[in-house]
């Protein structure tokens, strides 16, 4: 069978048995076929040992990934995000960068989920520098204060700030958490119920 047709027919998640059954070949032949396709990059394997092996087969080659914003947020936050694009960073990337990137998306869910990253910030100086470069220190400060209301967060060293003109985190111009919003001049789109998703 033509390789393209074969891949299209097999596209999806399989076990050895389902591959053999789908194209009417013996198990050993299916294993040889999967091994060849894996070498070419069309198959990735998960499971093994006591678990059943799963073969993820795609018509496109599966490239090796580097971690990006969604990977970092999903690692540390109880609120998981379904990525709407594949973000990868080639080079050093940690919670500090991911937090700034999440703010830059202006996405309600990404920013809310990223609040949990404050507990994994180890280099506050770097966060401050990155936020200053992107002009979003006010937003970082406001989000930090909100996160401290709901869960344990490492203490941030005091940085001088001067609240400038009002900034939006998302398109919503809401004044939730008014004392924090007014302190930082940042419209706060989340309410107490939204914060429940992070607990």
């Amino acid at each position: 069978m033509d390789k393209e047709l074969l891949l299209k027919k097999l596209e999806g998640l399989h076990t050895l048995d389902t591959v053999a059954e789908a194209i009417h070949i013996k198990k050993q032949s299916a294993l040889n076929l999967l091994s060849g396709l894996k070498k070419e990059g069309y198959v990735t394997v998960s499971g093994g040992r006591q678990q059943k092996r799963f073969y993820k087969i795609t018509a496109r080659k599966q490239r090796k990934r580097d971690k990006g914003m969604f990977d970092i947020i999903n690692k540390y936050s109880p609120m998981k995000l379904a990525p709407w694009y594949d973000h990868q960073v080639h080079g050093h990337y940690g919670p500090e960068e991911a937090l700034i990137d999440a703010i830059q998306t202006q996405s309600f869910r990404a920013i809310l989920a990223s609040l949990r990253l404050f507990n994994h910030i180890t280099d506050w100086g770097k966060l401050h520098r990155l936020a200053k470069e992107k002009g979003c220190w006010q937003k970082v400060g406001a989000l930090y204060d909100v996160s401290r209301l709901y869960f344990r967060v490492r203490k941030m060293p005091p940085y001088k700030y001067k609240a400038k003109k009002w900034q939006n985190l998302t398109q919503l111009k809401k004044l939730n958490f008014p004392h924090i919003a007014k302190k930082w001049h940042v419209y706060m789109p989340f309410n107490e119920k939204d914060m429940g998703e992070l607990l």
Partner: protein
């Protein structure tokens, strides 16, 4: 030819060489490699929205040994005189086609900017952000550029994709037509007619193109 590994190495080197953050959009063979549709490409197609950022990028690739070259023999004669034709840079077998603001008459629509397939950040002192366009846009832009082997690439994409959204592509063609791209209907019609020799595409999509022309 540029392999996927070469492409990643080149971007990483550029990420280290630039003196400010740069953002660009990848389409054509470059985008196809990010997707995993193919393993090598003749050229790296990029579009910049800001001239200063484009110039900064050009300086970086010049420092890597790429020299500017003429577009002759790469693009069809009708496209060569276009004011939005790309600047081309070559080094051995590797080539950059660098567009500014438009790909010939085709502009970056809001949907093109929003519905990205991937964003790759290459971090050095500064950040090179390469935004990879969605598959429907890659096909449309391949139809527009009309270079050698562009049709083969289109065929590869539509054959490999189970969920290729033809309506989405037609909507984009109509948006481009309504925003001043006078060639796009003809390019899309030509592509769909050619593709119908290999795969099944519903006639209604061609009808939509014809009704837009009236």
């Amino acid at each position: 030819m540029i392999s996927y590994e070469d492409q990643m190495n080149i971007f990483e080197l550029i990420g280290k060489a630039i003196s400010k953050d740069i953002e660009c959009y990848a389409f054509g063979g470059t985008a196809m490699m990010f997707y995993g549709y193919k393993d090598e490409t003749k050229d790296i197609d990029l579009l910049f929205e800001d001239e200063d950022l484009r110039n900064e990028f050009v300086e970086a690739i010049k420092n890597l040994g790429f020299d500017e070259t003429a577009l002759v023999n790469i693009y069809i004669p009708e496209k060569l005189g276009d004011k939005n034709a790309p600047r081309m840079f070559k080094r051995d077998d590797s080539r950059f086609d660098i567009f500014l603001k438009k790909i010939f008459k085709t502009a970056m629509s809001p949907r093109m900017k929003e519905d990205l397939y991937a964003v790759h950040d290459f971090k050095g002192k500064n950040n090179l952000r390469v935004k990879v366009l969605g598959k429907e846009f890659i096909v449309l832009l391949k139809a527009v550029t009309e270079r050698d082997r562009d049709f083969e690439d289109i065929l590869t994409i539509v054959k490999k994709e189970k969920n290729f959204d033809w309506q989405y592509l037609i909507d984009e063609v109509l948006w481009q037509y309504n925003h001043g791209d006078s060639w796009v209907l003809l390019d899309a019609e030509k592509m769909i007619k050619e593709l119908k020799k290999y795969i099944f595409i519903e006639q209604k999509y061609l009808k939509e193109l014809y009704s837009a022309k009236k």
